[in-house]
Symmetry: C3
Subunit: 141 residues, 3 copies
Amino acid sequence: MKIYTKHIIVNTEKKIDFVRITDKVREVVNDSGVKEGLVLINPMHITASVFINDNESGLLSDFRNWLEKLAPMHMEDLRKYNHNLTGEDNAYAHLWRTMMGRETTVAITDGKLDFGPWEEIFYGEFDGQRDKRILIKVLGE
Amino acid sequence: MKIYTKHIIVNTEKKIDFVRITDKVREVVNDSGVKEGLVLINPMHITASVFINDNESGLLSDFRNWLEKLAPMHMEDLRKYNHNLTGEDNAYAHLWRTMMGRETTVAITDGKLDFGPWEEIFYGEFDGQRDKRILIKVLGE
Amino acid sequence: MKIYTKHIIVNTEKKIDFVRITDKVREVVNDSGVKEGLVLINPMHITASVFINDNESGLLSDFRNWLEKLAPMHMEDLRKYNHNLTGEDNAYAHLWRTMMGRETTVAITDGKLDFGPWEEIFYGEFDGQRDKRILIKVLGE
């Protein structure tokens, strides 16, 4: 049984951003030497997300608009989120990460991510402009 | 360590549909010979979902109505989703799959899916009427 | 390869509640003896959720309000959810569990949950006041 762990750091220029990390995950899977198994990818922060969807810029902007619609960054009055009464201003980011999901687990078959043609892994940053960590854990043989 | 991989094909008659796949997953777990471990189940497409919920037709129609409410298939003007400016018409399906989740991981104990009484695995198709693949990966011993 | 399974029971006083279970999961990981691997945590019921977010009471109340906004417990008329035509009254709880997610998978590194500083595991109960089970499955070496 092989188990391999990598923590990577991202720091987005924008407060809200989507970063494609498929190639980075592939590199870690290669380094692990695992030919058959699973890889777990998750942010180590609670205002970010790792998810799988289409690498199409229009769709990524649709995600952004949709998140804002279902969980506005700013309520009419910022204080309408109870979390923001603590001095925080990022309640929306905790909700967005919930909508997009925390983590993904991907199958490794024949040493490769066992993906369909359009599957791409993204890191969704909802409160960035600072160092954040992503955990990649590979397990198999 | 045993690792077993199966790709199955689904092609729904309806564009939007929910297909119960619990028995198919059980069959794959049986074939794997794994008695203790995990099974990952995910669509290999980004307009579909694998999730666990109740096998009750009223609830499945509630899901359908709720998805439409939170992410309408058609905005007033179809072009209101940026993704649809690329010639696609399925932006809604990418959002629905996000709401329902991409994948599920299920524990295997004593050779069986370690489920509560009402847990059932569904494939949610949001842009069907064509061949789609589901990946089932079993890992354990 | 070590595999360890634990089923725990929760029974919340309130119908809707969030229970922090990080320490319980840590205890099970310790008991498993696994130093490197994965732990899957999921409710065995379809009106509950296991998720990772911030242990801040204001945020937990924001989750509650947000769930109610996007999937009201009671529609103007209770029967507006088709699921509730079957005699059930908890269609909302199936939707809330979908929004919050069924399960989480967490990496174990050096015998510990490989967490960032604010990650905490919660059990979200959406139709409680009765015994419910949570499954914790540890796999690794």
